[in-house]
Amino acid sequence: MRNIRLYFSRIVFRGIIRGAAIALVHILPWILLVAASFAFAKFGQSELTLESRGLLGLMYLLGTCVFTTSKIRYILGGQEILLLKKIGFSGNELFVYCLSKVKIPFLMATTGYACIYGVEAELGWPGAITCLAMSALCFLWAAILSSIYITLFNSQKSTLLKDISIILALAAIFTKAYKETYVEGMLLFQTVEEMVRHLARMRVMDFISFSFFSSFASMAMITLGTALLFWIFFRQRFLKLSVYTVGKPRRRRRSRVRITVGSPLKSFMKRDLGVAFSSKIFMAIQVGAVALGIWASTMLRGSILVHLAIYLAIICWVLSLKIQDVLVVDSLFVGVYKTLPIKFKDFVLMKAALAALYSLPCPLALLAAEFGMGKITALSAIILLIGLMLWSELLFFYNSSIIMLYFPKVKNTTDMPLLLGDFMMLIPLFPVIMIVCGMRIGAKKWRAW
């Protein structure tokens, strides 16, 4: 029993260390975005208001709550907790174990939220620290709930966490309003009255309705566009991207089986998109990224370089969050892959196509919105479009070449290398060398698992 406890203590310790690394990987692109926004606000002509910047933070907090609740639900639904309970782990120990497991949202919440409010206060530390504490408090709420959840251990109660995340968001809005309106000596009733007045003045609802309308309109456009592309691609076969040659029936008895001309790409797309769209986190990222992008696009006036920086940051964000998930699914399919005729180069090409589908919708929606609002010319839009596609693919190949060194042990071993990779990317020519070496090694290891 002592050994088991030691083993799990080590897991907790390693979990926290690794969590720090993951959080850094995840927030780096985010910091880029915020830094660009800050630099522009400082040196450019910014129309950023205090309220809208605060709202950006609240949106981030909401996103974090979605992450946290999904992650907690996932952990609590697993067999691991059941096993730990059976071998006599107490509620407190399970609680700590769960904390180490939800490291990503925790660290994202604290560091990311602090970054946002750092911008709000124009890098004034007191503001950032207050909000750091506030977001930590919010996380604590979720963690306390998770402990209640462990005690109850009833999956039907999962909706409770969702409700609490909404309450947290509302609490955050009121905390913010309270912070800005509180005057010493005011009665409680007067304070509440003043808070409501302040909230009314914030014009928050205008912004929310605008950003949601824009994001939903963009998502609808993307869905329609993607559906059209799929129809052209798979039904009409105007584009011949099939990586396999057309198979022919080898035996007479198979002639009665109708084998259509197609590509395994379709199977991968269907499977991976099915998995992705069943993930609330994926949807939250997509909708959140579009909303943030459109918000940034409406608030900022600047050169094409500033816009490009925002697009690239969004791509980085979405890709760095999802790149591992894309390949984690594949690593869990290794047993099946061994029995299937999949070549390494075909596998990578299919994944590259998927990565584009994963990462491009948000920036493309942003691009369309900017072009629609007349902020950029048609020529700039085309240049940006090509640049985005190239950047997305380059980034995919770079990240996947790092992951391929470890495939199929993806999630547990690739956090730190990806973090290092983000820094090493800045070294001239390193990404190209990494892609060539990573892919070669990956090809050699393919099927030798």
Partner: protein, 230 residues
Amino acid sequence: MLTVNGIKKIYPNGKGLKPFFLKAEPGEIVCLIGPNGSGKTTAFNMIAGIAQSDGGECLIGDLSTSDIEAKKEIGFLEESPYYYDKITVENFLGFIWGIKYKGEPNGDIYRLLAKFDLLKRKGYKLQELSMGLKKRVGVISALMHYPKLIILDEPANGLDSQSLILLKDELVAAGKQDCVILISSHILDFLKDIGTRFVFLKNGVIKKELPRSQNVSLDETYRSLYMSKM
């Protein structure tokens, strides 16, 4: 036709499979019998081309089973398959079909789903299925499209009586479609009903081969080979 020509694998602990030879004609159902650790799974993995052999070769027709193109002709069910379970039954089977045979899944998948009583559950995620139902999905993935070589490692584990009867029917049907079937199980009665040849393995070596006949007694043979010292 399946030709296994001297494949072998010796693990660091000295156990494994000694040079293994086997020939099977289309339509044959070859049953591998032996206690745990006798080398059945090792043999199956190498024949299926998913584990490397220390020597020898395994051919299906003229094609080595380790060749990537041969994978289309092999249906393999592992002893304890691990599947990514956040995917629906239909998507999982459709994925395998799409990679192997390209295009939309044809009626074969749905016929098997109906036969194994999974048609109503085709939209269920694998994580929502019991162990036995997952096993049925694995069996379907190995049998669909009747590949030239079907390898089933302990398919009876976790299956209920109804599924076992259906599996027997399906294997006999596959045999009639000229598939070579290799199967292992610890349930000797199950093997006796379907097998056309019985190969007894002990410590990685073939100890005995019996053809199917009215008088064959697997229990007696097993007793004499493996339990004589008890």
